[in-house]
């Protein structure tokens, strides 16, 4: 948001645009018009008027913090500009001629670091079809949500649980308390595992997970890193389950050339380095560790005398490859590099992989045409599937107490009623460009419109299609960049960027109503448009013509990425002090989470694909994360797990479900996975028709049903109606597969005494797992047993030898 707002403003304050800019997105245009600011010693000086605080050139590590209000990391742009480039014939050669360093090759899109000075000539090359500056993405389970709740900013909401303070409380400086207590019991197993259908697929025998638990599949996580020491990511022998870890944010030995790509930055670690303790990766935010735990943690970690295995992830037997893309700020090009790296490593191992991306931005056309999405689409394929959170921009108003989370989208026809940005009273920050709001308007490339902003004091600022304007008004600076260089190279549509900010001599934006009017000049395509408030530093929201739609962000809006909404499966957990903590803002259990971004895409394509539990989930806690210092009530009683919410935590559950589908069918395509998960998704009274719909997608994740749909006749090929995972059974569990759901499964001694009967809940769609226990809870002795599987049309009797060493 900062960068985009700065781009919009600086475009207007800088030189006139050149013809070459037509192939560049607005951020690149900013860089090109101000490239003299971004080289050598000039970095610190010219940046000051924009309010940017560079940490220095090179590959500096961004400081901990968050996108909004965080210092801009100019290392993204000096001495090279990190871009995504869509190539035509000869495009790659052109990039090389101009000194660009190519990272990932993904179809006709590459990630490239381009020298700033090379842009003017490069953009005239016929092989360069479009260029996109590395977009900034944010985490989808972020403390801003918690802070907002803690601060009680949400309309009628009284003081919220996590802070102990009322409206205006600064949760970041005042350690919160948890005033709401409840004697309600808490389930031992996280409610999400059962809700999403994972419990029917796997079972734990000792330290091992048996059944469909992701064995042989790689779960990739692109996020804020991982606490590599956390026991949830260690196998039964104590060794790490992380095969590779690549920290893009530190200097070291990068992966290098891999799978036709070049990853020549960051530091890569092997499993051996991780086990030796020499891997530098840490997760200072905690987001990545939580996400990875939700997808593939095995739940082995515990503390404070609590039992282990209460919070396993969806694919607890999968292996992991982790890429750290940042602490708070993430860029699109490195995201593409990270995903390409995970898939390349998986391919080298001959393993299928699913990558979870719990990052998003609302910036962009919301139609899946950004180059980041185009690249990720190209990286996807058989055995290579990407899952992403839909976003946290939903505004469902279904909570008690009521919560406002937007609106952030409006829709209209040119010439219709105006919209407005409502800026609430706020405390302005000292300095420039740190009190701002940014809006994007997208409309058909055949139409021309005039965008007019009316400040709370009544000043009018207008720009027609092809025009730009910067007005320093007494109410604040207003900039409008209305498709000044023509249609977007991405999709042919027109985009207008509107910024209000404390720029130059203008004061911080006034609180109140900033009216936005879109008027037709000519509208052969009808004059329809979509307006997004893509970010603000003061909790602004839209009024007039608003909808709670079209809010699935990038990259979840990509064609081949599975977009995941979030619903509610729990409100409480046991805190570190042993008391039951209750999340104060509550929907009905089972309902959509108030923040879950609804679709569809702007072009009408259905998004999100489905929903998964996302409020509240308990998963692995990074020991290096400081977020929990401000929200200690989120830490679970065992002190090594923590509660979090967001589509960040629903997405990895779908990633886990995909991992299980890949375990069954390693060559599954993204489209097949999407179809399976959609077709098998559960519906209930909360999932409103039509299905698929814009809020829920196809419904709620039902992992076991998806597996059954994939293999309605079980896991076996051929005529064998019942399969065994091993015989003799030397592990800690036996997986019994069947071609049809059996009426009963039981194990007997040779004397026909019943040892174990499987309850309905233990009979998965295609397997049942026997952890070698008895009905009375003891462990079976080594020896011979008889397995009886009563299929609908026949009885299968098998002799088992149990020979555990």
């Amino acid at each position: 948001v900062w960068l985009a707002a700065a781009a919009a403003l600086a475009l207007l304050a800088g030189p006139a645009p050149a013809q070459e800019l037509q192939r560049a997105d607005p951020l690149l245009r900013f860089l090109l018009t101000h490239r003299q600011l971004l080289s050598g010693d000039a970095v610190a000086g010219p940046a000051r008027p924009l309010g940017l605080r560079p940490d220095g050139p090179g590959e500096a590590v961004p400081p901990p913090g968050w996108v909004l209000g965080a210092p801009l990391d100019l290392s993204l742009f000096t001495p090279h500009v990190r871009t995504l480039v869509r190539l035509g014939p000869g495009g790659e050669a052109a990039l090389r001629r101009h000194g660009a360093r190519i990272g990932t090759r993904a179809g006709d899109v590459v990630t490239a670091r381009v020298p700033v000075d090379a842009f003017p000539d490069l953009l005239l090359e016929p092989g360069i079809r479009a260029m996109e500056a590395a977009a900034s993405l944010r985490l989808l389970a972020d403390p801003a949500m918690l802070s907002a709740l803690a601060a009680g900013r949400t309309g009628e909401a009284p003081a919220m649980g996590f802070a102990g303070g009322g409206a205006g409380t600064d949760a970041s400086t005042e350690p919160p308390a948890v005033p709401i207590r409840s004697p309600a019991p808490i389930a031992l197993n996280d409610s999400a595992a059962a809700d999403a259908g994972f419990d029917a697929l796997r079972r734990r025998g000792g330290e091992r997970w048996e059944g469909l638990a992701g064995q042989g599949v790689i779960v990739g996580v692109y996020d804020s890193g991982l606490d590599l020491t956390h026991a949830d990511f260690r196998g039964p022998g104590g060794g790490t389950r992380v095969l590779y870890a690549w920290d893009q944010t530190v200097a070291g030995s990068g992966p290098g050339g891999l799978g036709g790509h070049l990853f020549d930055y960051g530091a890569e670690c092997t499993a051996g380095a991780i086990d030796s303790g020499s891997c530098p990766m840490v997760d200072r935010v905690g987001h990545g560790t939580h996400v990875a735990g939700t997808a593939a943690g095995n739940g082995a970690a515990t503390g404070r005398g609590r039992p282990a295995y209460r919070f396993p992830g969806g694919a607890p037997a999968a292996d992991l490859i982790v890429v750290k893309g940042g602490d708070a700020a993430f860029s699109g090009d490195r995201l593409v590099d990270g995903v390409a790296y995970i898939f390349a490593r998986a391919a080298a191992l001959g393993r299928p992989a699913v990558v979870n991306i719990s990052l998003s931005t609302q910036e962009g056309p919301h139609d899946g045409t950004t180059l980041v999405e185009r690249a990720l689409n190209a990286l996807s394929g058989p055995g290579r599937i990407i899952v992403s959170g839909a976003g946290n921009a939903g505004d469902h108003r279904n909570t008690l107490p009521p919560v406002r989370n937007g609106p952030f989208h409006a829709h209209g026809q040119a010439g219709g009623l105006p919209h407005a940005v409502r800026v609430p009273p706020y405390q302005a920050q000292p300095g420039e460009m740190n009190d701002a709001a940014l809006l994007e308007l997208w409309y058909d490339g055949a139409d021309s419109v005039t965008v007019t902003v009316r400040t709370p004091r009544g000043e009018l600022v207008s720009a027609a299609t092809g025009d730009t304007i910067l007005a320093l008004t007494p109410a604040g600076a207003v900039a409008i960049v209305n498709a000044f260089d023509g249609p977007s190279p991405l999709n042919g549509d027109h985009a207008a960027h509107i910024a209000i900010a404390d720029f130059d001599t203008a004061p911080p934006p006034d609180s109140g109503r900033w009216e936005i009017q879109v008027s037709p000049i000519r509208a052969p395509a009808g004059g329809g448009y979509h307006l997004w408030l893509v970010g603000s530093t003061f909790d602004a929201y839209l009024e007039g013509g608003t909808t709670n739609r079209f809010l699935v962000g990038v990259p979840a809006s990509a064609d081949r990425i599975l977009a995941v909404g979030a619903h509610v499966t729990r409100h409480d957990w046991t805190g570190v002090d042993g008391e039951v903590e209750v999340f104060p803002v509550q929907e009905r259990l089972g309902d959509i989470a108030y923040f879950s971004s609804p679709g569809p895409r702007r072009d009408g394509v259905q998004k999100p694909d489905l929903s998964a539990p996302g409020k509240v989930l308990v998963s692995a806690r990074s020991k290096d994360a400081t977020l929990w210092d401000a929200f200690p009530g989120l830490v679970e009683e065992d002190s090594v797990h923590v509660a979090l919410l967001g589509t960040s935590v629903s997405s990895p559950q779908v990633a886990a479900a995909v991992a299980i589908l890949l375990q069954v069918e390693p060559r599954l395509t993204p489209e097949e996975a999407r179809d399976l998960l959609r077709a098998s998704a559960a519906t209930d009274a909360f999932v409103l028709a039509p299905v698929p719909g814009p809020v829920w997608g196809a419904g709620k994740l039902a992992a076991a049903a998806a597996v059954h749909r994939l293999r309605p006749a079980g896991l076996v090929h051929g005529a064998e109606p019942v399969t065994l995972s091993a015989n003799p059974v030397r592990g800690d569990a036996l997986v019994i597969g069947y071609a049809a759901r059996p009426r009963s499964v039981a194990v007997y001694t040779l004397a026909a005494e019943r040892v174990r009967t499987f309850g309905d809940g233990e009979l998965g769609p295609v397997t049942a797992v026997w952890p070698l226990d008895t009905d009375a809870g003891g462990a079976v002795a080594n020896g011979a047993y008889v397995l009886v599987v009563e299929l609908p049309d026949q009885r299968i009797v098998r002799k088992l030898l149990v020979a555990r060493p």
Binding site: E210, G211, L212, Q215, G216, V217, Q663, V664, P666, L715, V716, T723, L724, S725, A726, N727, P728, R730, G731, V735, G737, A746, V747, Y748, T749, L750, A751, A752, E753, R754, V755, R756, T757, T767, V769, T774, D775, A776, G777, G778, A779, V780, A781, N782, G783, A784, Y785, V786, V788, E790, R795, V797, R798, K799, L800, L801, V802, A803, R804, P805
Partner: protein, 327 residues
């Protein structure tokens, strides 16, 4: 061994207490045993090691519902060493087909060693049969056939003796037990102890505790299926007809069970036909062996041939055949 052979050992030694009172006392003991927590018991069927200690050694005890703790017989060594008393040296052997291609066999020899002492030995085995080996797949939980086979089995050897003082006999036995399963093996020693009491003419009571010993450690350690049992046997002969009624309570692996049986024999000294019917409760609702057992036998002079049959629900049925010879 026929009931007529065993009966004289108890004959003529009855004393004061009435039969009803003694029977009540015996049942009380049995119920007490049944209700008591079995020491060192496992947790459910299958938690204790070995099959050989769970199945009947011969067709006669099987057909009588395994209510054999108070029956004088060569097979009694496997139930209560104090009751392993015979009038003449007796040898017995049996074979049993178990589900899924497994099988079991047993042989016992018991002989008097003086006016008060009786000694015996019993050998048993269970053959698990073979399986086609399935190796785990690192991906899908579907084992891959390797073409190899695996097998296993158990062997038990038991030596014991019974010494009698008046109407009371005390017996002890020591067992050596070996288990092999798919390349893992171990052996363990265990002991049994028991009491037999000839309470009244034709009425015998017995109580025993079995399988006291270490754990079988073929791979993972597992306790032996320690068992406490107590019961009574009532015998009556009239002319060519002989009737024996047996009852027993037992507790094993935290399960309590009851068994009983009726044995009716008819014939002369040189030829006798025997019918047996047994009933054995299923301690767990999920047990699938039939509670009813039937059997029979023919004795020709000193040689007896016995059969027993029990249905095992989805596991089909087991049939046991045995021979015994009284020297």
């Amino acid at each position: 061994v026929t009931p007529r052979d065993a009966a004289p050992a108890a004959a003529g030694r009855a004393a004061a207490p009435s039969a009803a009172r003694t029977l009540a006392l015996g049942l009380s003991v049995a119920l007490l045993i049944a209700g008591a927590a079995s020491p060192l018991a496992g947790q459910g069927a299958g938690s204790g090691a070995t099959t050989v200690l769970r199945i009947s050694p011969g067709p006669r005890p099987l057909a009588l519902g395994n209510a054999f703790v108070a029956v004088e017989d060569a097979w009694a060594l496997e139930y209560n060493p104090a009751a392993a008393r015979v009038a003449a040296p007796t040898v017995a052997a049996a074979y049993q087909a178990l589900p899924v291609g497994a099988s079991a066999g047993a042989a016992a020899f018991v002989a008097p060693a003086g006016p008060a002492l009786s000694l015996g030995v019993s050998l048993r085995f269970v053959d698990y049969g073979t399986i086609d080996v399935l190796e785990p797949d690192p991906g899908l939980p579907v084992g891959r056939p390797t073409g190899a086979t695996a097998t296993g089995g158990e062997v038990s050897g038991l030596v014991g003796g019974s010494i009698r003082w008046g109407r009371l006999a005390v017996g002890v036995a020591g067992r050596a037990l070996r288990l092999d399963v798919a390349g893992l093996s171990d052996q363990v020693a265990a002991a049994d102890a028991g009491l037999a009491w000839w309470a009244a003419p034709g009425l015998q009571l017995g109580v025993a505790i079995q399988h006291l010993g270490g754990e079988m450690e073929a791979g993972r350690p597992a306790p032996l299926p320690r068992t406490i049992r107590g019961g009574a046997a009532l015998h009556h002969s009239a002319g060519f007809l002989s009737v024996r009624l047996v009852a027993e309570a037992r507790r094993r692996e935290e399960r309590t069970g009851f068994g009983g049986g009726l044995e009716v024999g008819g014939g002369s000294d040189g030829l006798e036909a025997i019918l047996r019917m047994g009933y054995e409760t299923r301690p767990h609702a999920g047990d699938v062996f039939s509670p009813f057992v039937i059997g029979g036998g023919v004795r020709v002079e000193r040689l007896s041939i016995d059969l027993a049959y029990r249905a095992l629900g989805p596991l089909a049925a087991t049939r046991q055949v045995g021979l015994s010879y009284r020297f």
